[in-house]
Amino acid sequence: MVRLNLLLLALIVVSSLALVTSQQQARKLYNELQVEQASAKRFEEEIARLQVDQSTWSTPSRIERVARERLGMHAPEASHTRVLGVEASAGGSSR
């Protein structure tokens, strides 16, 4: 009887130590998860910000302004345009 009790006591001690360890482990892992989630959120925020940047830089009005003012481009005039028939353009470019 006494021996059984001692055995059970030992088991209880072992299992409670195991519980403490696993709890500790769980919290540590959870903490790591949180760090990773926080950086995931940061990346998401960065993506959103970069998307705004990208679409702000790529507005047609800005592209047109840069083409006109910085690159000196302009739409071709009639005298500089040649229209090719559909047969002629079938092989490649349409202009």
Binding site: A26, R27, Y30, Q34, R42, E44, E45, A48, R49, Q51, V52, Q54, S55, T56, S58, T59, P60, S61, E64, A78, T81, V83, V86, S94
Partner: protein, 582 residues
């Protein structure tokens, strides 16, 4: 030994006996004490447990809001037209915050506020939530969190950006502080775009670090992206040309709509004047309105093709039937209809080409009111175009039973009826296709859409031929011609309504047409409200804008030419035709 043992035995054998009442008293006292403890335990555990657990949890358990972002609005090619980025609101809890002087200095620096100002703001909030700064960038917010000031908290929310700013403002609308749609497509499609915020239950330690997840929360539902029918490039081009036309003619306002003939999608929808939705503090009401859908106007001569189509369908005229328009005016009852020039006898085709009011009125009066009403009604007038846009109006088409002959006559050239610009553009799908009215959409659709047959293909093609003549050298709008393409269309110039009558010198100039005429791809409708630059005829105000929009559209869409590049023939200035409205 034995004596000792005997003594011990004697002691054991003779225990001290206490008085009976003392034992009872002690027992009762102990029972009472234990009873008290048990009662207390029962009270705390049994009856008061909810309150106490709540108290306990309030120290260790927290519910955190997980914000969901709003979906993007993109154009038909997936380019973002509206998107949200996170921002943080910095606030102090009712308990107040207790920063160290060093923390305080650093906080003021991060918030870009003067220390004195910050102190004053904080002191002003006794026992209330106080927002110190509503919008802080995520990078700065992270540093503020790093300061770990007790009592100072941050809440994530979103801000909407509109990269194309004033080019798309009336179409997209805006969202409010909570990123909820307030106007335009943001409002119409809010249920689709808006996310649903989630919730996390967590256990925190005494330093407010999250230790573990406590039970199931609710995952946030992210908003969905929405693809519009709009093409960002075409939208820009339409806006650019509309703006130029409104400014050149010193007009009050203007609108332009571009519709894909095959799919019914609205490729561009521009309004001017406009505003920048990114500067949301001031939203001028008159500039925020999407005139092309929410405002009606009397279309004027752009409606004549429908009168002619009804007459062709009814078989009362043919394109070459002669109509006598001399002497350039016509009296019905007490009212008189005028042409600006007396043309004499014109064919039905020339009535459109020269835009004769008398001719159109005479043709209309050959029809029963019911026939004409059916034509207009089936062309989509008097009902909304069902784009789902908030505030979209139906315009006015009165029931034919109440029509008087003079009203039927004026309706023949677009007076006494009101439309919005999108309705008008949509109605022209009848002539751009083989007589079918196509449904229009502001959302991206999948491929070609079936229309509702309104007139026969023969009549549609006959009217299309007339519309092509109207932009020719002998028509009312040679300035609508486009280099390299055949176009077809009709001008309109109408006096604006003022009180019960018409304003003498205030006009709406419009032009609706499509190109290429040999195989129409786009319908373009332009409306210029109250031009004050001297010219006001649709042929000289709206037609040039139409021409430029069509030219850039077809080039951008890579539509093959159907005419040589030297096809534009403008008559000499002195022979420039005058349009005949009112």
């Amino acid at each position: 030994m034995s004596a000792l043992a005997g003594m011990g035995g004697a002691v054991r054998a003779k225990p001290i006996r206490l008085a009976g009442w003392r034992v009872v008293l002690l027992t009762l006292a102990l029972v009472a004490l234990f009873g008290g403890l048990a009662a207390r335990a029962l009270y705390l555990q049994g009856f008061n447990t909810g309150f106490l657990q709540q108290k306990g949890n309030s120290f260790s358990k927290k519910e955190l809001v997980v914000p969901a972002h709003r979906g993007r609005i993109t154009d038909r090619n997936g380019e973002a037209l509206a998107l949200s980025t996170p921002l943080f609101q910095v606030f102090v809890t009712p308990r107040g915050m207790q920063p160290t002087p060093a923390q305080f200095t650093e906080l003021a620096g991060l918030l870009e506020m003067k220390e004195a100002t910050l102190k004053k703001t904080i002191d002003a909030s006794e026992g209330e939530f106080l927002t110190i700064k509503p919008r802080v960038l995520p990078a700065v917010a992270e540093k503020i969190v790093g300061l770990k000031i007790p009592g100072l908290e941050l809440q994530r929310h979103y801000r909407r950006h509109y990269p194309d700013a004033e080019v798309t403002s009336q179409l997209l609308g805006i969202t409010n502080y909570d990123d909820y749609g307030q106007e335009g497509m943001e409002l119409a499609q809010n249920a689709w775009l808006a996310g649903k915020q989630g919730m996390r239950r967590v256990v925190v330690d005494n330093k407010h670090n999250i230790v573990e997840e406590a039970g199931a929360g609710r995952a946030p539902q992210e908003g969905r992206d929405l693809a519009l029918s709009i093409d960002r490039r075409l939208q820009h081009l339409a806006f650019r040309e509309l703006k130029a036309a409104v400014e050149m003619h010193k007009a009050k306002a203007g609108g332009a709509v571009v519709v894909d003939v095959h799919t019914g999608e609205i490729l561009a929808l521009a309004n001017y004047p406009t505003y920048d939705p990114n500067q949301r503090d001031v939203v001028p009401k008159d500039k925020a309105r999407n005139r092309t859908l929410t405002d009606v106007f009397e279309p004027g001569s752009t409606l004549k093709p429908f009168t002619i189509a009804a007459a062709l369908e009814a078989g009362v005229v043919r394109p070459d039937t002669m109509m006598q328009t001399a002497p350039g005016s016509m009296t019905i009852g007490s009212a008189t209809i005028h042409d600006a020039h007396a043309y004499g006898a014109l064919t039905v085709e020339q009535v459109i080409q020269k835009s004769s009011n008398v001719g159109a009125a005479k043709i209309a009066l050959m029809l029963p009111p019911e026939t004409m009403w059916h034509m207009l009604s089936r062309s989509g007038f008097g009902a909304t175009a069902k784009t789902g846009f908030p505030g979209e109006v139906s315009g006015r088409l009165r029931p034919y039973r109440t029509w008087k002959p003079i009203e039927q006559a004026t309706m023949a050239y677009g007076h006494g009826i009101s439309v919005n610009l999108v309705q008008l553009a949509r109605a022209y799908t009848i002539f751009a296709t083989g007589g079918e009215l196509k449904p229009v959409s502001l959302l991206k659709t999948n491929g070609d859409v079936a229309g509702q047959p309104v007139i026969s293909e023969k009549s549609a093609l006959a009217v299309r031929a007339m519309l092509e003549k109207a932009v020719g050298p002998g028509g009312t709008a040679p300035k609508a011609q486009v280099r390299g393409y055949r176009v077809a269309g009709k001008t309109g110039t109408a006096h604006k309504l003022e009180g019960r009558g018409y304003a003498a010198h205030r006009y709406v100039s419009s032009f609706v047409g499509f190109a290429p005429a040999s195989n129409p791809r786009v319908i373009v409708a332009v409306m210029i409200d109250e031009p004050t630059g001297g010219e006001y005829y649709g042929g000289s105000v709206a037609a040039p804008a139409f021409s430029r929009i069509v030219e850039v559209m077809l080039r951008a869409m890579n539509v093959p030419n159907d005419a040589p590049l030297d096809n534009v023939i403008l008559p000499p200035p002195e022979a420039m035709p005058v349009e005949e409205d009112m």
